[in-house]
Every structure is written in structure tokens, then in C-alpha cells.
Symmetry: C2
Subunit: 125 residues, 2 copies
DNA sequence: CTAAAACCTGACGTTGACGTCAGGGTCAAG
DNA sequence: CTTGACCCTGACGTCAACGTCAGGTTTTAG
């Protein structure tokens, strides 16, 4: 059993990646289009991904949920993969971090407002 | 100085409401279209709002920021104004509350992920 | 009185992350 | 061998909260 054969056996098709990450097949293709994901191709043209692709896609979802755009994530990836950043990238990271922090505070405030409403209407049924 | 005159003097036009709330005039018209806001009309057809309209719009913004839709907010308003809720409304309130809580947790997780990246890339410049 | 600022009603345009449909290959199972 | 699950590439559709433009009336400042 050669190494290359073992490697090939670890490749999965797009459907499995999607199921693994809990997103649609269309979404995975979209991520590729946005430059977030690359895939080998089988002789017949089918996309082949390493197993980690699922986790990678879940990471995308996490960033999307935090309000990052595909472009933001694309800029973020080189930082993660190289473990190295230039000034511009560091600025971007801090900008996004601060944006998320602000958003958390906004959400917390909204939550408090809603809890107020819930409390008031609970005592006045 | 009659009461009605004094009331009339407290009415403001759409531009002031917008500035007060930090949104566009277009947005305020949109909120009316969504049934979130009603306005009297001057003889010439211009919208006239009570002063509290600004605060009301800021409340909308806060809810929008929390991910509520116009429809959600519209359902929410009667609860606030009447201080009374039926079962369906209470369910809605709790659903939205839980959604926001979950979103805060998601954001916190994303923030931690980003801080990881920032820390790693800071020590590997 | 006049010009600028503010307002009005449509109605089409924008953005992002996909959904969905059309039309057609591919591949293990029976 | 054919059926059904899965895959491919376009390319148009969606949804929400507005932006923006057109074409016209009203209000306000000087």
C-alpha cells in the first residue's frame, strides 16, 4: 500500500463535505468560487477534497455567522495558514475583532431590551 | 394657547426624526411601509411625527441589529404597547430571545477563534 | 420673490450568500 | 443495462433593508 494510494483514499467528494459541515452542496461550490476552498479533480471532473475540508467549511460558517464576508475570510486565510501577517492584515484582524465585540455588545443590549418586554408582559398577562 | 396647538407644536417632520435616530429619511419611510410607524399628515401631505418617534426608530435599529426582521418587530410592538401578550406572542418573544442568546454565543466563539489567530500571528511576525 | 432645502410618490437598483432550475455526464447496485 | 444517487456547468431567482433616481410640490431663509 503506497503512500500516494493511501492519500487518494482519504479524498472525499463534495456531498460528503457538505453533509459533514451541515451546508448545501451549492454552498461548498460557492466557497470555491470565492477562493476559500480549492479541490482536486477526478479524471471525470468531480471535485475531491481532503477530509479536513469539512472542518474548514465549518470555520467559514462560524466566520459568516460573525458577520464576515467571503472577502474578509479570504483575507484571513493566508494569516492562518502562514502564521504570518503584514501590517495591513493585522489591521484587518483587529478591525474585525472590534466589529464582533461591538456586535456582541449590541446583541446584549437588544437581549436586555427583550427581556424587559418579556418580564413586563409576563406580569401583565 | 390651546392644548391642540401645543400638541401640534410638538410634531416634527421626517428629516428630524431621521437625524435624531441616525438613519436615512428613506429608512423612516420604509418603516412606515412595514407598519412599524404611523404618521399624521400636514395639509400638504408631509409626514408629522411625535418627538418620541426618534427613540422608536432607534429601538427598531437595535432590534434589526439583533437580527429581527421588520415582521418580527411588527409582532413585537403590540406586546410593548399593550403590556399584554397572548400565548403565541409569548412564544415568539422567547424564540427571539433564545435566537439572540445563541447568536451571542456564536459571536463569542468566533471572537475567540479570531483572537487565537491574532495571538499566533503576533508572536510570528 | 426667489432659490435652496426639504418633502412627496413611485419605481428600479444593490448586496451577499446562497436556492433552484435546465440540461447533461458518471458510477455502484441489481 | 438501466435505474437512481451523485456530480458537473451555467445562469437566473430570492430576500431584506434600504439606496438612488426621476419628476414634481412645499417650506424656509434671505
Amino acid at each position: 500500500m503506497s503512500v500516494t494510494t493511501a492519500d487518494a483514499e482519504r479524498l472525499v467528494r463534495i456531498g460528503e463535505v457538505a453533509r459533514d459541515a451541515g451546508v448545501s452542496v451549492r454552498a461548498v461550490r460557492y466557497y470555491e468560487q470565492q477562493g476559500l476552498l480549492t479541490a482536486e479533480r477526478s479524471p471525470s471532473g468531480q471535485r475531491l477534497y481532503p477530509r479536513e475540508a469539512g472542518a474548514r467549511v465549518r470555520f467559514f460558517q462560524q466566520m459568516y455567522a460573525a458577520g464576515l464576508t467571503s472577502r474578509n475570510i479570504a483575507e484571513l486565510l493566508p494569516c492562518i495558514e502562514s502564521g504570518h501577517t503584514d501590517a495591513e492584515q493585522r489591521a484587518m484582524l483587529h478591525t474585525e475583532r472590534d466589529r464582533i465585540r461591538a456586535k456582541i455588545d449590541d446583541l446584549q443590549a437588544a437581549l436586555d431590551r427583550l427581556d424587559e418586554v418579556i418580564e413586563v408582559t409576563a406580569s401583565h398577562p
